[in-house]
Amino acid sequence: VDRDCGENMDNSTQKSSNIDEARRQEIDLLMIGVKKGSRRAFLNLFHLTSSKTYGILFGILRNRSEADEAHQDVYLRIWTKSHLFDPDRAHADCWISHVARHAAIDRLRSLGRRPCWEEYSAELESDAPGPEQTAILHSDLGVMARCLAQLDPTYREAVTLAYVTGASYEDLAAKFQVPMNTLKSWLRRSLRRLRVCVQGVGEGHAGD
């Protein structure tokens, strides 16, 4: 299992990445404290991760007041679900981002709202990656970015939109104007390709 989602950086990003790595390790240690029930660790974890988790909530909900309400839920979940975090196999900030995404997605669905596609419509109308995809594809955060880049553009967009906007299969099928089973087939095929590609360390197994 690749615990490191921060390797494979070039020299130009080394300095900032060192800072990021120090911060990441601090979050790891604090999360271990939270797992043991330390309220002080929880307080410090909140201060260190609050802006990131809020950014994720806003990125999906696109509404300040809804993000405000969901923000407390994120930390409630971090406290109550800390047993699901495995410090030997995952970085805490990856897990915390996952918790924040799920809190946002749950709220989006409980409100019966569809994702805000406007931010991403330019990407859908073009084969060229948009800002969000560019941020992901040009990232030095591991082989996944390279494997994503090897997917068919339509599949890549579907995968990226599913993750970044928190869209459901139903939302995506409506957006791409295909039957839901077709959309499921696209995504599941893409996920299988990504798994093979990442395990092959980006040796070109993702493309057809």
Binding site: D4, G55, R89, V164, R188
Partner: protein, 109 residues
């Protein structure tokens, strides 16, 4: 990877993406507690998909830790301490005032 492993792998990836129903999410989370192999798959996707979080920018916010703390831990454990502390301080101030008033009366008398 066996066929069943592939479907499990995809389902865990769907869980990480947030594509499953609340019931399916709860089922996966229950299994994660007891199945090390499933945790392995989960952590594979968790770590590798983290690159996608680069799409979200950190944002300043007005969330107060005290609100979260109150919601999780409650205030019952702290409130009696605060109440007694405040009551004690008020009593101490009252005693000082009474003593000063008596000294003043004695000086005037």
């Amino acid at each position: 990877m066996q066929a069943t492993d592939v479907s499990t792998d995809v389902q865990v990836a769907e869980y990480v993406f947030g594509l499953l129903s609340p019931e399916q999410n709860a089922s996966i989370e229950r299994r994660l507690r007891n199945e090390p192999e499933l945790r392995e798959i989960y952590n594979f996707w968790l770590g590798n998909l983290d690159v996608m979080n680069a799409a979200y920018l950190p944002l300043a916010n007005s969330t107060q830790y005290s609100d979260i703390s109150r919601r999780i831990f409650g205030v019952e454990a702290r409130r009696p301490v605060n109440v007694w502390l405040k009551a004690g301080l008020a009593l101490a101030v009252l005693v000082v005032l009474v003593v000063k008033f008596r000294i003043l009366l004695a000086l005037l008398g």
